[in-house]
């Protein structure tokens, strides 16, 4: 039976220059006991729909038309009625468990407060109810944890507390907006499991908003695909993922890196300019291509890095070992993947290789020279030129005050001060075309570009010094899947044509599988295992690797 019915819902944002339609005539129905996955890329309006149900749209946006019928009451009839339903009939779970709890109140106080606002219960009854709720969401020792503050919980536990808060007034509809995006894979699967369990036990109607097709495949019964505020397709998860009807859904599904096999390129359905292969050759003319000699380019030996917590006492017990006795080698022309959850030390290793951090002990060899012990600046510059890095966040990795051409010119003029202006411009244009941007981009500022385009600029800058090693620190984790597929394709092409060696760092196992020849798995600063990609995925030896592989959300799980 249909429990929630969204009819022709539209949300407008009246901006200075134009009106932005964040949602256009969206029709969605959700039944009780069912999880509806709302999926789309950033800016597709999926969160807008979630917020519009409870009328939590920020100024200057407003719900311009449509109705939301819960049970058989139109809750959008007047603004007071929505307030009554919010938190009462409708529970909410947000993305970031760090900010959705009040840090100065204990978990218990927050639960009791919420319960007493909506239900007529005495303090004692409310307390009993909260403890039962905490137990239900899987918090051990609920009686003692009841008096703890949010910071005493880990990220996953905190999200459980948020879920218990959402459930405390017996809602019948639960809206979860990217509930696991801020969490590690192992915790993600626990939280999704919990949501599934609660849906069944409490007969809830759940709207799960996410960008992650893997999450959808594993949890949702039905899925609605959104793009630019429009509902593209809605139907059973299995049907939509196996046999998408709309072009957009097709491209979305084909962009998701498969977890069970390695493919050579991602198929980009939507874009027409697939056959622009000859682009990359432009930069080749300038490139002094290194022959692949099957020798080791980078070697890490017993690398350690500790961060001191305490400013005054050196070597205090508080120091955190971010990287603990890590040794591995990367061959020339290979792409090496480094996988681990947050805090496993993968970014720290990257920063030591590019010489942003000095290791506490241990050595890094590049081309058989120990680069950690170089004192002379001119010596160091030689290596700076050969090792470049691409960063995770395309919004902070480009200086917003410089034009794109000045950003790319910086490494060129620094390492080749005698270059003429014409030559410099030509080089910049070639670099831009190699990353599939047009020449006009050179005269623009970074804020005029989208995330994926910025990441391309970032790649062009990294290629400007003709490096041999490219360190990619989560280069696509801030991007949408379809953009991710394009960037990964680009990186693959560049590597193939320029014989680059790539160190690819990611938390995303399927992506690493597509990109890398060999993979190292990190946990708490220690290297668990290093092996060839296919070996690692098919016959993992280390316990932790097995666990990671078991827990990652698989889009293929729908086929079973």
């Amino acid at each position: 039976m249909t429990f929630l019915k969204i009819n022709n819902l539209s949300v407008d944002y009246q901006m200075r220059k134009e009106t932005i339609y964040a949602a256009k005539n969206v029709n969605i129905e959700v039944n009780k006991g069912e999880i509806l996955g709302l999926v789309g890329e950033s800016g597709s309006g999926k969160s807008t729909v979630g917020n519009a149900i409870i009328n939590l749209i920020d100024e200057p946006g407003k719900v311009s038309s449509g109705s939301v019928i819960l049970g058989d009451i139109n809750i959008h009839k007047n603004s007071e009625s929505i307030v009554r339903y919010r938190g009462n009939k409708i529970g909410l779970i947000f993305q970031d468990p760090q900010t959705s709890l009040n840090p100065i109140l204990t978990v218990g106080e927050q639960l009791i407060e919420t319960i007493q606002t909506h239900l007529k219960l005495s303090k004692e009854e409310a307390k009993n109810k909260s403890i039962n709720l905490l137990k239900e969401v899987g918090i051990k020792d609920a009686e003692t944890r009841f008096d703890n503050y949010p910071h005493q919980f880990s990220g996953g536990m905190r999200q459980r507390v948020v879920i218990s808060l959402a459930l405390c007034c017996e809602p019948e509809l639960l809206i979860a907006d990217e509930p696991t995006t801020a969490l590690d894979v192992s915790i993600q699967s626990q939280i999704l499991g919990l949501i599934k369990k609660l849906t069944k036990e409490r007969n809830l109607a759940v709207i799960l908003i996410t960008h992650d097709m893997g999450v959808i495949a594993e949890t949702a019964n039905r899925v609605a695909v959104m793009k630019n505020g429009n509902l593209v397709e809605i139907g059973e998860t299995r049907k939509i993922l196996n046999n998408p009807q709309e072009n957009y859904t097709k491209s979305l599904v084909s962009s998701v890196p498969p977890t069970n096999k390695k493919i050579s390129r991602f198929v980009i359905v939507e874009k027409e300019n697939n056959n622009k292969k000859e682009n990359n050759i432009k930069i080749l003319n300038r490139w002094t291509k290194k022959e692949i000699l099957n020798q080791e380019l980078v070697e890490l030996k017993n690398l350690n890095k500790s961060f001191d917590d305490n400013f005054f006492t050196e070597n205090s017990k508080n120091s955190v070992m971010a990287v603990n006795d890590v040794s591995f080698a990367i061959k020339e022309g290979e792409s090496f993947g480094l996988v681990g959850e947050s805090g496993s030390g993968k970014s720290t290793i990257a920063k030591m290789i590019v010489n942003l951090f000095k290791p506490t002990s241990g050595d890094i060899f590049f081309d058989n020279v120990c680069i950690t012990k170089i004192k002379q600046k001119s010596e160091l510059m030689k290596f700076r030129k050969q090792i470049q890095m691409i960063f995770q966040d395309p919004y902070s990795s480009l200086n917003g005050r410089l034009k794109v051409k000045d950003i790319i010119a910086e490494p060129i003029t620094l390492h080749n001060p005698s270059i003429s202006n014409i030559e410099l411009n030509n080089y910049i244009y070639d670099l831009l075309e190699s990353v599939e941007l047009n020449q006009k981009s050179a005269d623009r500022y970074p804020h005029e570009f989208s995330g994926g385009q910025r990441q391309r600029i970032s790649i062009a800058r990294a290629l400007a010094t003709q490096p041999r090693l490219l360190v990619c620190d989560e280069p696509t984790s801030a991007l949408d899947v379809s953009i991710q597929a394009q960037i990964l394709n680009l990186l693959k092409d560049l590597q193939e044509q320029l014989n680059l060696t790539i160190l690819f760092i990611s938390h995303d196992l399927p992506v690493v599988r597509q990109m890398c020849d060999r993979i190292g798995v990190l946990k708490d600063g220690r290297l668990c295992e290093v092996s060839g990609t296919e070996d690692l995925f098919l016959k993992p030896t280390h316990e932790y690797t097995k666990e990671l592989l078991h827990l990652m959300p698989k889009i293929e799980s729908i086929y079973n």
């Binding site: 510059m381 902070s396 910086e410 599939e436 941007l437 981009s441």
Partner: protein, 312 residues
């Protein structure tokens, strides 16, 4: 995927398209205060072209005109709109000349403290360690001394060091230094804080990896990115500097009476306040209030617009 729209904007179009321009057009406070400021700046810097009198040319003065009240009062004369002072100088011209001196001192002092403060704050935030600690403790010490007291101290020392004849000539530089030295900790603190945020961003790391030297990273990359908050406190600091100048001149330690600033005019007029010649002190005072108020309003607007956290 590559087609950003194909027109490239000129700088003027960029400005016209920006949110700052738009917010300016939408804010009556900003428009009114900047119009007033423009008029004041224009009139004081081109004062020779605007006023028929030169109050500093003794030959053009006539003691017969002394203590003429404003033109709209009973004894007023049309050619002296705001009346004259004890020496027969036209008040409006004197105010505009005085305002120029006040503005020159204010601007110079704020630029001096901006360069000093941002230089120290930027390097402190960037290099960190002991150097940062020393600089920041220095700002703490500086902030324990009230700025007027600091300025009086500097002025006193300068008087002791410079001979009496030299003093009148040097007074304006001493004043600039005295006000500037008491304002720099604000700039140092703000720019250090902003630098700490910026230096951890990836674009700084990217430049380091490329091999760009620290000096270039600081001035080419970080400095332009921390200028917004610095400009805001600079504007509000300008009002403070002008007021500080007036206060010092009012106390008699500022610019000499031969080249009066607004503060000097208020002090000179003060003697006549109770003998009925109110206009001699009233007009410079009201002028100073309008000037400082407009600068502050503009500064407030800038703070609201340039700080995305305050946006509604």
């Amino acid at each position: 995927m590559l087609q950003v729209d194909n027109k490239t904007l000129s700088n003027w179009e960029r400005i016209k398209d920006s949110d700052i321009y738009h917010s300016f057009i939408k804010s009556p406070t900003a428009i009114v205060s900047s119009t007033i400021l423009f008029i004041i700046f224009f009139c004081s810097f081109f004062v020779e072209l605007i006023t028929p009198y030169n109050p500093f040319d003794p030959s053009s003065l006539s003691l017969m005109d002394a203590f003429t009240p404003p033109s709209w009062t009973e004894d007023g004369i049309a050619k002296f709109i705001l009346g004259t002072d004890g020496q027969g100088r036209d008040m409006l011209s004197t105010i505009l000349y005085g305002c120029r001196i006040s503005l020159i001192v204010g601007f110079s002092a704020i630029i001096f403290s901006l360069i000093l403060g941002v230089g120290l704050g930027l390097t402190a935030g960037f290099f960190g360690g002991k150097y940062e600690m020393i600089v920041m403790r220095l700002t703490d010490v500086q902030l324990t001394v009230p700025s007027i007291l600091m300025a009086l101290l500097v002025d006193g020392i300068a008087r002791g060091l410079i001979s009496r004849e030299m003093h009148d000539e040097m007074a304006i530089y001493v004043l600039i230094f005295a006000i500037g030295i008491s304002e720099w900790p604000q700039f140092a603190r703000v720019s250090r804080a902003a630098t700490l945020v910026e230096k951890n961003k990836d674009y700084v790391s990217a430049s380091t990896i490329i091999g760009v030297s620290n000096i270039i990273i600081m001035f080419k990359h970080i400095l332009p990115n921390i200028l917004r908050p610095v400009l805001v406190i600079g504007t509000i600091g300008l009002a403070l500097a002008i007021l500080a100048e007036s206060t010092l001149s009012f106390l008699g330690v500022g610019v000499p009476p031969t080249t009066p600033s607004l503060g000097t005019l208020i002090r000179l007029g003060n003697d006549f306040l109770f003998s009925g010649e109110w206009w001699i002190t009233f007009f410079p005072a009201i002028f100073l209030v309008i000037l400082a108020f407009s600068i502050n309003l503009l500064g407030d607007w800038m703070r609201d617009t340039l700080n995305p956290k305050l946006k509604k």
